[in-house]
Amino acid sequence: MDKAEYLEPDLAFIARLKRAGGESVKKCFQCATCVAVCDVTQSDKPFPRKEMIWAQWGLKDKLFYNADVWLCHQCGDCTMHCPRGANPSEVLAAVRSLSLAEHAVPGFLGNMHSSPAALVPLFAFPIAVLLLAAMYANGLAIPAGEIIYSRFFPLAVIDSIFISAALFALITSALSVKKFWGGMKRNAPQKAAPDAAAVFGALKDILFHKKFAQCRANKPRYTGHLLVFFGFLALFATTNLVMLYHYLLGRETPLALGDPVKLLGNAGALAAFAGVSYIIARRLAAPKETGNATYQDWTFILILYAAIITGILAESARLANIPAAAYPVYFTHLVFVFFLIAYLPFSKFAHMLYRTAAMIYAASNSKTS
């Protein structure tokens, strides 16, 4: 045989994994019921059985740099049927949770996102930046007259901050995904480079929530995620369209309520709000079916929720013409949005990066040559 590398279990990793939500990992006795009941897994080298023994053995490199961990959608079917209470669904969620810090470039930002104490500096930064910007723009004074948020933050200021944040997120995302991708290639060399079909296939699956649709134990997640997903897409599109209005057409905000872009934005906000509300309600009402939520899960959900709610409130306060409420709420909204965008590759938001990458990687790898 070829000389395989020595396996070296990592006891510290096992302890970390247990703390991150995978406390039941050692209970697995490898019966593979999980694999049999999973509708999402592929038939060739299916998950999560093999991930469970890697995790039991503390083989972190195999776990972190492995597409399958991200193909899992945490339906919880495996956990529900596990005869040993090993909860594979939670263990894989814990692996993903640790993966965020592992893949993060720069690494310290990843680590900060797994520690509650780090929330202070993480929030302090956007607050400081936005305060400075507001001070620079109008000395922090609440503008008189009709509520127009660009009077508080001129568009050029806002855009320069958020475009920078987006660029930062883009670059760090690329670096983080590259690290992940390289690791996957090292562990499971690709049979073929990803082609257009693999990419479009993966995007189609994501867009239509095909994988979520296969879940049984946690069926409602499909609805929740779908609402948030498309709500968020709508809001993202709205943001870009508003920029187009401004720079190309010279149309300024606030837009009339009947404006198609405004309609899109409001619809998106309502969908996202409904989706996140539903997700939170499900997590609280049925913790067993939804699986143990990790720290990253809750911070992400709550910050997303806060961004949506403050957005809705900011618009409401503007329409109700209450300047004393509108501007502070708007400020808060921007802090949360900054958090979401700038820290995307470090928070749970990054699941969209790694899952997409993993789906593309797996799609190109499952092709027969």
Partner: protein, 713 residues
């Protein structure tokens, strides 16, 4: 049957018998044998019926033929004390398998009644073989099983002699740091062996011989003469029964070269590891360094056709326990367990789960390909087909081979029996001295000698304790039965035993060789020397004897010859073939009873006779059958071979061996070999009987009638 004997025949007309056959005609049949007309009763097993029988018995009837149901039911109701011989003829079952009110059915029950009368006439009253017996139990081996057996027997009021070859009691457990848990806490627990040894040593009814071995054992249950070799010289003792609890030997790992056994430093057995752990801190042997990683290799030699083909049953729990020692000693230590299957049945699973939950214990199923030295005293283990989905290499500071159990009885050396068939307990499989794994645990093929604990079967300490208690009780039971001249199973309570007409013995040794229980010793001229208390009354010797000089008071060659000759053989022109069926009473007869219960229909041309064991088949009966004009003989016995079901181990096998020599006899009589067929039958094969018998009847039809019909009387 003597002048003073008074035989009475009773026909029960209940259970369809009266409605199926002409009972009046049947009742007159005994007259042909000089016996009074049969009494009749519609419900013979009922209170009134039994009262009627009792009354007749009180008025002098001392031979009673109950022509009613199978002898396998209501034996207690038809028991009238030891002075009244009772024989049963199964008319009910015959009626159930046949067409009612049919001429053939009538002939069938008439033949059965005739055979019953002849059998009872040929039966003598067994005189139990009663001796003044010793009631002490000799226990060989002072480990957990031996001590448990000794205490169980002593607490039951018997004197016990305990022989231990080492200088202290305790056996394998004495060398352990701890025992694995069997309950409750699921942590390794104290062995408690020292306290148990104290209890044995201080028991007033137990005499302990340390540093001693058995030099010889002769005699029979109740009177075993035993020579014990003690440090002070040889001591002669007497015992009534023996429990052999000599335990096991760990498999020699030098035979496991691919696992580094005997060649690679720091590759040791679990037994050696246990000794190291018991001595204090676990240090590896080569350099006394504390290991930070230890690999356990399960099934080392077990479940391997080239080594021990069976599961040794205690290794999985042992390795889990030892993993605990290591993890306790060093919380950063890594323990690998490479297994083929984790076998922790029942509650043991809870300990497996507990150890599995330990972060530092890494397990995978797999085939360990090699264990080699990896420098600095370390070892490298390569494991194929793992659950990790690949062949893996692991480095560890030392490796422990969970070596399997070999019975200490393998290759003998413990009992030194002076028996003609050899000095040790016969082995069943793989060196274990079992006799019948299905029906008779503890029982060996030496009556009065019981194997207990790991010597008998791979088992752990907890199982050995249960096993030893059972064996002690069986030993006591054996002496109690022997004292009354009664057999142990399978013919429990039988007081008959073989008697030999020595004047006609040709010293052919067939009986001394074929007895499954080694009942016969031999003198210098090879004359059999019976030890009746070793006998289990199977009749194998009777079947084997070419001189036909071995018989029981109530079971003899002559008896069955007479029964066969009592079968009515219609002339060829009547087209009523006759097939004799000789069937084992342990499995085949119950199958016939079950066929009757199920109302399966069997050919009315068969005549079934039950034998104690097909091993008691004497070939002369086949000659008798064909000389009488019977057309064929079917023999039903238990399955033999590796998965034999014979209660006497080799009965059906011996019978089929004897049959292989039959062709010559048949040839001499110009008879076709197809006329005789042996069919293995299990107790639950009732449904197969119509087919088997139907097929055979077709064969008989094809080969035609027995030409000897013409000459038969």
């Amino acid at each position: 049957m003597t002048q003073a004997d008074a035989m009475k025949v009773y026909i029960c007309t209940g259970c369809d018998i009266g409605a199926s056959v002409d009972v009046d005609k049947l009742a007159k049949l005994p007259a042909q044998f000089g016996v009074a007309e049969a009494g009749r009763h519609p419900f013979l097993c009922g209170e009134a019926g039994v009262q009627m029988l009792r009354k007749d018995v009180s008025q002098g009837a001392n031979r009673v033929l109950i022509a009613a149901c199978s002898g396998r039911v209501y034996a207690d109701r038809f028991d009238f004390g030891k002075d009244v011989l009772v024989e049963r003829t199964a008319l009910r079952e015959a009626a159930w398998v046949s067409a009612p009110n049919d001429a053939d059915t009538q002939l069938l029950v008439e033949d059965y009644l005739k055979m019953g009368i002849v059998k009872l006439q040929k039966t003598g009253k067994p005189e139990p073989y009663i001796r003044e017996l010793d009631e002490k139990i000799l226990v060989v081996g002072g480990g957990i099983a031996g001590m448990t057996a000794a205490l169980a027997a002593a607490d039951a009021g018997r004197g016990v002699l305990l022989v231990e070859k080492e200088a202290a009691l305790g056996g394998f457990l004495r060398k352990l740091k701890k025992r694995f848990p069997v309950d409750g806490v699921w942590e390794p627990v104290e062995t408690g062996i020292a306290a148990k040894a104290d209890e044995v040593n201080n028991h007033p009814s137990i005499k302990v011989f340390l540093s001693s071995e058995i030099a010889s054992v002769s005699g029979q249950p109740g009177e075993f003469d035993v020579t014990v070799k003690t440090p002070q010289g040889e001591v002669a003792v007497r015992a009534g029964a023996i429990v052999q609890a000599t335990g096991f030997k760990p498999y020699e790992i030098a035979k496991l070269a691919h696992l580094g056994g005997g060649t690679v430093d720091n590759v040791i057995t679990s037994a050696r590891f246990e000794e190291i752990a018991a001595a204090g801190k676990i240090l590896r042997p080569s350099d006394s360094q504390e290991p930070s990683s230890v690999a356990f290799i399960q099934c080392a030699g077990s479940r391997d056709e080239k080594h021990l083909p069976y599961c040794s049953s205690f290794c999985c729990m042992t390795s889990l326990k030892q993993a605990r020692y290591i993890r306790e000693q060093n919380p950063n230590a890594k323990v690998y367990i490479f297994y083929r299957d984790m076998r922790t049945p029942g509650k043991y699973e809870l300990f497996y789960k507990k150890m599995q939950d330990d972060d530092g214990v890494f397990m995978t199923k797999g085939d360990v390909e090699s264990v080699t030295g990896a420098g600095n005293g370390g070892v490298e283990i390569v494991v194929k087909n793992t659950l990790l989905g690949e062949t893996i290499r692991v480095k560890a500071d030392m490796a422990v081979l969970a070596a399997g159990m070999e019975s200490a009885a393998k290759n003998g050396g413990a009992l030194h029996l002076t028996y003609r068939q050899g000095p040790e307990l016969p082995e069943l499989n793989y060196g274990f001295p079992d006799s019948h794994f299905v029906c008779f645990p503890y029982e060996t093929r030496r009556t009065g000698i019981y194997a207990a604990g790991a010597v008998r079967h791979p088992m752990d300490a907890a199982q050995s304790e249960i096993d030893a208690t059972g064996a002690a009780l069986k030993a006591i039971q054996c002496i109690t039965l022997a004292a009354a001249g009664r057999s142990g199973h399978p013919r429990s309570g039988d007081t008959s035993y073989p008697e030999i007409a020595f004047e006609r013995c040709t010293q052919c040794k067939r009986c001394t060789e074929e007895c499954p229980y080694g009942m016969y010793d031999e003198d210098a001229k090879a004359t059999p020397q019976p030890n009746p208390l070793r006998c289990r009354r199977c009749g194998t010797c009777m079947g084997a004897c070419p001189q036909r000089i071995i018989s029981f008071k109530n079971y003899s060659v002559d008896m069955f010859s007479a029964m066969i000759k009592a079968i009515g053989v219609p002339g060829e022109e009547e087209n009523r073939p006759r097939v004799l069926i000789l069937a084992c009473e342990n499995d085949s007869m119950p199958a016939f009873d079950m066929a009757a219960k199920l109302r399966l229909k069997l050919s009315p041309h068969i005549r079934v006779i039950g034998l104690r064991c097909l091993g008691s088949l004497n070939m002369v009966w086949l000659g008798d059958a064909f000389a009488k004009g019977l057309d064929g003989v079917l023999l039903f016995g238990c399955k033999f071979g590796d998965e034999y079901q014979c209660h006497n181990m080799k009965g059906s096998e011996l019978a089929s061996e004897r049959l292989s020599k039959l062709e010559e006899t048949l040839g001499r009589m110009s008879l076709e070999p197809e006329r005789v067929r042996f069919v293995p039958l299990a107790i639950d094969d009732a449904h197969a009987l119509p087919g088997i018998i139907g097929d055979f009847m077709k064969v008989i039809e094809r080969v035609g009638p027995n030409p000897f019909k013409e000459f038969a009387d």
